[in-house]
């Protein structure tokens, strides 16, 4: 038993759990799901391989519409999250000091420590017809009767942005933190105005954080189920909702698997595009945050 053999043995012992995990729980299930999605039901218990399920999804306007809507709203939610989070991240990274800084940062992490279910529940209590905001407005005399803020796209948006805020703030704060303050000072010193400095110094420096945050927020929104269903109500169409109903309510797994793959492809495609445009890699983005 030489040292080399021992090292080899350890390597195999470390490799096997990895392979078991990644192959049995991730890779093979997805291959299996793909196989299922290209299986067409001709008649009960008779199947044929083909793209029929996909064709059917794309020939049904309501599905295409939902896919489109889900993607667009996710992009919008991502942009909105970035817009809202950037000033706050900058404040935490560059303006707040000492205790205030770590306190604010910890507060941004707060929603993560609470179940998504609880977060959505909180919004429901705030937004619904009998909810806090509606009651407050009536009490203040601004409206005459109860107002329903729930069950519309704006509510979904509020929820999505809220849920993913953390994943934007953390990478932003960490990249902005590393921005050398003398660069900003030099920018002003050389006669740049606030916006010029922001555009030419701060944002380019924060780019890796921006990309990382956007990718994560986008994926979380696209794959979200709870927020659109609970805040958007019955009429709200979200792609994961279709997947759920095909699988669990209608028990049409072949069709559902096709839905799943379309969602996966959409998300990968958009993420790939974003990475391509910004010149980052997946490993550098994900592993950092």
């Amino acid at each position: 038993m030489s040292q080399k053999d021992a090292r080899r043995l350890t390597f195999l012992l470390l490799l096997s759990p990895f392979l078991l995990w990644i192959l049995l729980l991730v890779v093979i299930p997805h291959i299996d799901m793909f196989m299922l999605s290209v299986r067409e039901k001709i008649e009960p218990r008779v199947y044929e391989t083909g793209l029929g399920n996909y064709i059917e999804v794309f020939s049904e306007p309501v599905y295409v519409h939902t896919l489109f809507r889900t993607a667009v709203m996710s992009v919008a939610a991502t942009a909105l999250t970035l817009l809202l989070a950037f000033p706050v991240s900058y404040y935490i990274a560059k303006l707040a000091r000492g205790r205030l800084k770590s306190a604010l940062f910890l507060m941004c992490l707060l929603p993560f420590w609470v179940s998504e279910l609880v977060r959505v529940f909180g919004w429901m209590i705030l937004l619904r017809e009998t909810g806090v905001i509606s009651s407050f407005l009536q009490w203040a005399g601004l409206v005459s009767g109860p107002v329903e803020f729930l069950y519309n796209d704006a509510a979904v948006m509020v929820g999505l942005v809220y849920t993913s805020m953390l994943f934007m703030v953390v990478p932003l704060v960490s990249t902005l933190d590393s921005l050398d303050e003398s660069l900003v000072e030099a920018g002003y010193d050389l006669g740049g105005g606030g916006f010029a400095v922001l555009r030419e110094i701060v944002i380019p420096h924060a780019m890796p954080g921006i990309v990382a945050g956007c990718i994560i927020v986008f994926m979380l929104s696209l794959g979200n189920y709870l927020t659109p269903i609970l805040l958007g109500g019955k009429s709200s169409l979200w792609f994961t909702g279709h997947i759920y109903s095909q699988f669990i309510t209608r028990f049409n797994w072949e069709f559902g698997a096709a839905f799943g793959f379309i969602l996966l492809a959409t998300s990968s495609l958009l993420v790939w595009l974003a990475l391509r445009l910004s010149g980052q890699t997946l490993a550098s983005t994900i592993a950092k945050s």
């Binding site: 995990w21 179940s115 977060r119 529940f121 806090v132 000072e185 969602l263 490993a283």
Partner: protein, 289 residues
């Protein structure tokens, strides 16, 4: 904009006001969800009917308290069991993965690394359905060819654990790898040189060094598992973890017992967060010198 650069008072105030609003937005839903746990009313909404602890401790309908609600208590127990298994598995595989990727060079390592990151990029719903599809394929295959039925491969807690583990393992791997990367390997060589066996060295030097990361990732894994909804929803059988139970209640519209449960979850997370911070502090000490 920096503390060192003069700004008009108006700009400064507006900025501060915005940051304050942002944090109100962050806190409001959590605060509301927690507060209504103490409202003496059958619905979690205004008007405020006075303070009560019934939603925690009362044992009779219609104001059945959290600690006497059999469904919720069962949900908490189920979630706890699931989280314990998921955390254990994730820590084991996270640790072996960290050693594999930090200590060994092997063919296709890049590919394996990307595969390792994959579960974070795949929406939870899809992880759930692919697992569902694959386990059914196996179960059906076994049933058709050998005629025996394996209950564990049908939707239920076993699949829930596997489904959650499939992506929590990635998170554990990343956290543990980050710490292992900072480890000074000559410490291991020194211990080996002083007569320790490989196992001794692992037990007395490397694992103690990794301890803060193990505790930290263990807590995070536990929390994520406890809170997980998307993956769980697709794989759950007759025993519902807490999030599923709460979701069902929420759809129906429930008494403030849900608020009490939410507060209970927040306090639980707070305790975990506190432990995590303590573990983190321990970690920074030797690294600084």
């Amino acid at each position: 904009m920096l503390p060192t650069i003069p700004q008009s008072a108006l700009v400064r105030l507006t900025y501060r006001g915005y940051v304050a609003l942002f944090f109100i937005y962050l806190i409001a839903p959590l605060l509301v969800a927690a507060t209504f746990a103490f409202n003496d009313s059958l619905f979690p909404s205004l008007p405020w009917n006075g303070l009560t602890f019934d939603w925690f401790f009362n044992s009779t309908q219609p104001k059945l308290g959290l600690f006497h609600d059999p469904n919720i208590m069962r949900g908490i127990r189920t979630s706890f069991v699931v989280a314990v298994f998921t955390t254990t598995l994730s820590l084991l595989v996270g640790t072996t993965n960290a050693f594999l990727f930090e200590r060994y060079q092997f063919p296709l390592k890049e590919l394996c690394y990307v595969l390792m990151l994959m579960p974070l990029v795949i929406p939870g719903v899809i992880l759930g359905i692919s697992m569902l599809v694959f386990s059914s394929t196996i179960a059906n295959g076994l049933e058709d060819s050998f005629g025996f039925e394996i209950e564990a491969l049908r939707p239920g807690l076993f699949l829930v654990v596997l489904g959650q583990f499939s992506f929590i393992a990635t998170i554990a791997t990343l956290v543990i790898s980050a710490r292992l990367r900072k480890f000074d390997r000559t410490l291991e060589e020194a211990a080996y040189n002083l007569g320790g066996s490989r196992f001794d060295v692992l037990r007395t030097i490397t694992l103690p060094y990794l301890k803060p990361a193990l505790i930290g990732s263990g807590l995070i894994a536990f929390l994520i598992s406890f809170e997980n909804f998307n993956t769980t929803l697709m794989l759950v059988g007759s025993d519902s973890p807490l999030t599923i139970t709460m979701y069902d209640r929420m759809k129906e519209g429930s008494t403030p017992v849900l608020n009490a449960t939410s507060l209970f979850l927040m306090i639980g997370s707070g305790i975990l967060a506190f432990i995590a911070v303590l573990a983190q502090r321990d970690k920074s000490k030797p690294a600084e010198d």
